[in-house]
């Protein structure tokens, strides 16, 4: 959603921001894991965005801007501070980390897994993995858009997505193995 042209007025904020309401709320709820906190986060995000709308740069990505405000607000909230304290300061971020993976019976099953198992697996991911997976798969943001939202280089976006997917697969694999009785297929040549 690139906004271009002159004459941005405060009343156009509502026109631009309200279509994002449902998806911002969904993202906020995934981050906070709590309805009340998600509502507070979204409310604060809209208040901050409206306040800063005059400084919004024409031609830049409005959706990424809104998500960036929401994410920064979350990270400085009590819940955000608590979860980021538990995130290891890893040495990631140098570039894509794309391990070769072969298809296995369980990976083929992932697509048919029930939603609850998938919800729990996504919910169980560390916050950096959870947010990037949601931005990529649910919000269908481009790598560039994610890069703008998270304020990190595209190489970091690629490595984080790769790591998040692998982490999700690792969490789902035991469930798939229980279903199929398959063991140790990843070690096969």
């Amino acid at each position: 959603m690139d906004v271009s042209g002159a004459g941005l007025k405060s009343d156009s904020f509502e026109e631009l921001a309200m279509p994002l309401f449902d998806q911002l709320y969904n993202f906020a709820h995934w981050m906070t894991r709590n309805r009340e906190e998600a509502e507070d986060l979204v409310q604060e995000t809209y208040a901050k965005a409206l306040k800063g709308f005059a400084s919004f740069q024409l031609g830049s990505n409005f959706r990424a801007w809104m998500y960036r405000i929401l994410r920064n607000t979350f990270l400085t909230s009590r819940t955000g501070l608590k979860v980021t304290m538990t995130v290891p300061l890893d040495a990631e971020e140098d570039g894509p980390e794309l391990a070769v993976e072969r298809e296995t019976p369980e990976t083929l099953l992932f697509g048919r897994m029930n939603h609850e198992a998938l919800h729990n697996a996504i919910d169980d991911l560390p916050v950096h993995s959870r947010e990037i997976l949601l931005l990529c798969e649910v919000e269908e943001m481009s790598y560039q858009e994610i890069s703008e939202t998270l304020s990190v280089p595209i190489g970091t976006v690629m490595s984080r997505i790769s790591r998040a997917r692998r982490s999700l697969r690792d969490r789902l694999r035991p469930l798939a193995q229980e279903t199929t009785g398959v063991r140790g297929s990843r070690e096969q040549p």
Partner: protein, 249 residues
């Protein structure tokens, strides 16, 4: 193996982020390789499942109405009044403009002060005061590399009453910055550094603090960066730390 090299690219391909020439080559390969085709199918299924599962939470209509109301533009006042009324109004406006301007400046300054004070209090209330724990400026400063989009210098504290406890990332609005914690006679002082051009217009050189501030604070701009020094230490200590920082920058 040829397939191994392609498989490392499958996610980028399926995300639609691969350059068009490579996309065409991988298209051809996937159509002729059952192994890669099966892998691609599994990944597509995974993407679709995550997408479906990820759209989980929906806001209530009451909450939507509340937010919409809070951001709705205020109704425009009608200016279809007579010239006489307009003249009378303009007289009132002119008469009160100076006090209004001063009031706005003070309100903006108080809001900005409040946000800085919030960051200071939030850090002190946090279970972990700093993310990088070190009294060594040569350890703390490099920790911010890659985390914030600018560099800054920290002062030498030998022969002073101040000690550096460490630092953490912070955000003012949408602007990332460095948050350093110093100690002087058991008082914690926050030093916040942001890029001047990234900050909202309210945080300018006319920054004002409330009439009875709960914290002492100093702020200045130097080398394209905006510094805030805030804490419950005495105004003299705040000023001394500010001078040390100004000398180092």
């Amino acid at each position: 193996m040829i397939c191994d090299s392609w498989k490392t690219e499958l996610d980028i391909y399926l995300d639609g982020e691969m350059p068009s020439a490579e996309t065409r080559a991988l298209d051809i390969h996937v159509h002729s390789c059952p192994s890669c085709a099966a892998d691609a199918l599994a990944r597509v299924q995974m993407k679709r499942s995550i997408q479906a599962a990820g759209k989980r939470f929906t806001p209530t209509s009451e909450f939507r109405r509340r937010v919409r109301t809070s951001i709705a533009p205020k109704p425009h006042r009608s200016f279809g009044l007579t010239w006489m009324l307009a003249a009378a109004l303009s007289l009132v406006v002119v008469a009160s403009s100076l006090s209004t301007y001063m009031g706005i400046q003070r309100t903006r300054g108080e809001q900005a002060y409040s946000e800085i004070a919030d960051l200071h209090v939030a850090a002190l209330a946090s279970s972990s005061l700093v993310d990088v724990v070190s009294t060594d400026r040569h350890t703390v400063k490099p920790w911010f590399q890659g985390r914030i989009p600018f560099a800054f210098d920290l002062p030498e504290l030998q022969n002073s009453d101040f000690s550096l406890l460490g630092g953490r990332m912070t955000y003012l609005g949408q602007t990332p910055g460095a948050h350093l914690i110093y100690d002087v006679r058991k008082h914690h002082i926050s030093v916040l550094v942001f890029q001047e051009r990234s900050l909202a217009a309210g945080l300018d050189a006319n920054f004002l603090s409330p009439k009875k501030p709960p914290f002492n604070m100093e702020t200045w701009s130097q080398g394209g960066l905006r510094y805030f020094v805030i804490g419950d230490a005495s105004a003299v200590d705040i000023d001394r730390l500010a001078k040390l920082l100004k000398t180092a920058s």
